[in-house]
Amino acid sequence: MPDATGLELLAGELRDAEPDAILGTLHFRGQATIHANAPHIGTVLEALRAGGYANLMSVHGVDYYPEEPRLGVIYELLDRARRDRIRVKVRVPTDAPRVPSVTPRWPTADHQEREVYDMFGVVFDDHPDLRRILMPEDYEGHPQRRDFPIGGEPILYTKDAGTRQDYTQ
């Protein structure tokens, strides 16, 4: 991980290239995080790639409910030559959850973006094949959102079929 100063220098360079791209930085417990502006995630990752962070190790989603904007997408980058890692976060609201896809440049993001779409409902623009990956295609809702009901529905056994509410009704 770059240290706090290195992180600020990195963020400064990115700001110089694209003034709106960086919203802030966080250095916490030795881990460096850049908060990026969602529409500019492509340029931010591209610049970091040019600076050596060439491997996209993971793309995952977070629901920060009740904070706003609620949804987050997190990109973990690795510089293999320097054995260095950095994290880029973007936040989007639930009513317009759109993030540009990085799949055209990092093919590994394909299934991971599909999973974030499936579980959190973040729509990745220009993704070549944005479908659900884990849940059935006719499923409604995005089950990893924190306002999604976790289950706990009543269980009806076959022996009780006549006595209580029927599953098939």
Partner: protein, 233 residues
């Protein structure tokens, strides 16, 4: 569990008992070849022949020769496999012939959690099995979703008629065996299978209906950008 080896209790049968056994064998053979007649034949028939109805005999044989589908879903499947192995050996009861095709099986053991995506597959396998057919929900997950009580798992009762629930997480092989023997008793008794009608699970589905294929194509409602209604608001 300790295994104690010991000699079979009792001595060899006495010579009288052996002679009696052999003479009974001989009489039975004579009856079959038609060499027995008169009161001897009547006595032999009274002693050795049992009359019943064809339906009862059919239920008796069906209940004593389940052919479970070779179908494992999760960790319970390991216990199901163990049920076939030496210690609890379900071959003693005649249920050891696990069939790899649903067309040849008549017992579906739901051994594990059924995910929401797997449920249509399970139902299709059940529909493909030939009548008469039965289903056992093995373990907590397929009965009540168990520890996976969330968006991904559905209880088996929601999509097919379950005849026996075997509780446990996972159930021991003995418990599964107990469940299968309960099912055997049920098949012998032949109760009315009203819950099958509720699930529409009668008869065997030969071909998937055409509308099923059409539905499958129209199901992609959550394609982003296609419709706004598909999004989770």
């Amino acid at each position: 569990m300790e295994i104690i080896r010991q000699k079979v209790a009792g001595d060899r049968p006495s010579p009288e008992a052996m002679r009696d056994f052999r003479s009974r064998q001989l009489t039975a053979r004579q009856l079959l070849t038609g060499d027995l007649d008169g009161s001897e034949a009547e006595e032999e028939v009274e002693q050795g022949v049992l009359t019943t109805t064809l339906a009862k005999a059919g239920r008796w044989s069906a209940g004593n020769a389940f052919m479970p589908a070779t179908f494992g879903l999760a960790c319970c499947a390991i216990e199901m496999i163990t049920t076939v192995a030496a210690r609890t050996d379900i071959a003693r009861f005649g249920f050891e012939a696990f069939r790899a095709s649903p067309r040849q099986a008549d017992l579906l053991i739901l051994s594990g959690r059924v995910s929401i995506k797997m449920a249509p597959v399970v139902r299709r396998i059940y529909d493909q099995m030939l009548e008469p057919k039965w289903a056992i929900a093995m373990g907590a997950c397929s009965s009540s979703m168990g520890v996976f009580n969330n968006y991904a798992v559905v209880p088996a009762d929601k999509f097919l008629p379950v005849d026996v629930h075997v509780p446990g997480c996972p159930p021991r092989p003995e418990a599964l065996l107990h469940g299968i023997l309960k099912l055997r008793a049920m098949v012998h008794e032949d109760p009315t299978l009203g819950w099958r009608e509720r699930h529409g699970a009668e008869r065997t589905i030969e071909v998937l209906p055409d509308e099923g294929e059409a539905l499958r194509k129209d199901f992609a409602v959550n394609v982003p950008g296609a419709t706004e209604s598909g999004q989770n608001a």
